[in-house]
């Protein structure tokens, strides 16, 4: 089913007719006296800006994809490895967690905290946009 409104269809038809006319129009008439070099300089500047923005969007998409992948990947460490990792991070950073709290955590909590710290570490080591 078409989701276009009556006016959108009319706009499309008008555009197509105008586009056909523009394509048939001699280049000199299209430029209408504007130096070709100015048109090219404008297009090159547009391409440079678009290239930069496209790179930024690809990076954001890649990060989102990585985060999604991470959330789907089961944690492949033992509880002891996770506890050791958390303890090491706590020692080396300014996160606050008493050693006794870590010992009292359930296995699920340890694995969740491990995952969160890994994610934070990865974010901190990624280049900022």
């Amino acid at each position: 089913m078409s989701t276009k409104s009556r006016y959108e269809i009319q706009l499309d038809q008008l555009l197509e007719a105008c586009f056909d006319e523009l394509r048939q129009m001699p280049d000199s008439e299209v430029l209408a006296g504007e130096p070709a070099g100015e048109v090219r300089a404008r297009a090159e500047a547009r391409l440079a800006r678009a290239t930069q923005e496209a790179g930024r969007r690809r990076l954001i998409a890649a990060r989102a994809e990585a985060a999604l992948e991470r959330s789907r990947t089961p944690i492949a460490v033992s509880i002891q490895e996770a506890r050791d990792y958390i303890a090491r991070i706590i020692r080396n950073t300014n996160y606050t967690l008493a050693a006794r709290q870590l010992e009292e955590m359930s296995e699920d909590e340890v694995l969740r905290l491990y995952d969160q710290l890994r994610e934070l570490e990865e974010q901190n080591s990624s280049p900022q946009i």
Binding site: T3, R6, E21, L22, D27, R46, L47, A54, R57
Partner: protein
């Protein structure tokens, strides 16, 4: 979004860059004129904004650049689609409350998709009507041009359009050239500069 290297029918990133940078100056200007046409009354988007957005989408891989299709045709099609999307997104808010994220149904693909209702809302209809009215108004005061625009709006082209206007060949040719210049903003200062 992503570059699908298994799709031989689309240009690669480098090929897209080459296609855009190797356009002739007149085609570059034609693309700007199409952007001027399409950005009439478009909420929050100038002609330059529209053109740059489709450049960006083609370069990021968001939009497919088909192989063996002239760059100008790809730009026109992409701009028309983007203008329609902008119109549908509405002018009031960047957040559309009618648009909601649906559940992930295929775990392998795990693609978030949106459940969009039928977007033929009164506001979309209103915006398209306003845009069309603004384009037609840009031709007002020239009876022959108005006739040509009416025929084009009805989807008529060439001889069928001429017959519908009731104009003679010479008068019709002159009027369709004037109509193109008015619709594509030849008389207006370049937008977005």
């Amino acid at each position: 979004m992503a570059w699908d290297s298994k799709d031989p029918g689309r240009l690669t990133y480098q090929e897209v860059r080459d296609a855009l940078s190797q356009m002739g100056e007149a085609d570059m200007r034609r693309a700007e004129r199409i952007a001027a046409f399409l950005s009439h009354r478009l909420p929050g988007m100038s002609a330059e904004d529209l053109l740059q957005e489709v450049y960006t989408q083609l370069l990021s891989g968001d939009r497919r650049f088909p192989r063996d299709v002239p760059a100008l045709v790809v730009l026109k099609t992409a701009m028309r689609s983007e203008a329609s999307n902008v119109r549908k997104a509405g002018r009031a808010s960047p957040i559309d409350p009618r648009f909601r994220i649906g559940p992930i149904e295929d775990e392998k693909e795990a693609t978030f998709h949106a459940n969009a209702p039928d977007r033929r809302t009164p506001e979309v209809e209103y915006l398209a009507r306003e845009e069309l009215a603004a384009l037609v108004a840009s031709c007002s005061g020239d009876a022959h041009v108005e006739l040509v625009v009416m025929a084009w709006t009805d989807g008529l082209k060439g001889e069928a359009a001429r017959e519908a206007t009731g104009l003679g060949e010479m008068a019709f040719d002159a009027a369709r050239k004037r109509a193109t210049r008015k619709l594509a903003g030849f008389e207006r200062a370049r937008e977005g500069s």
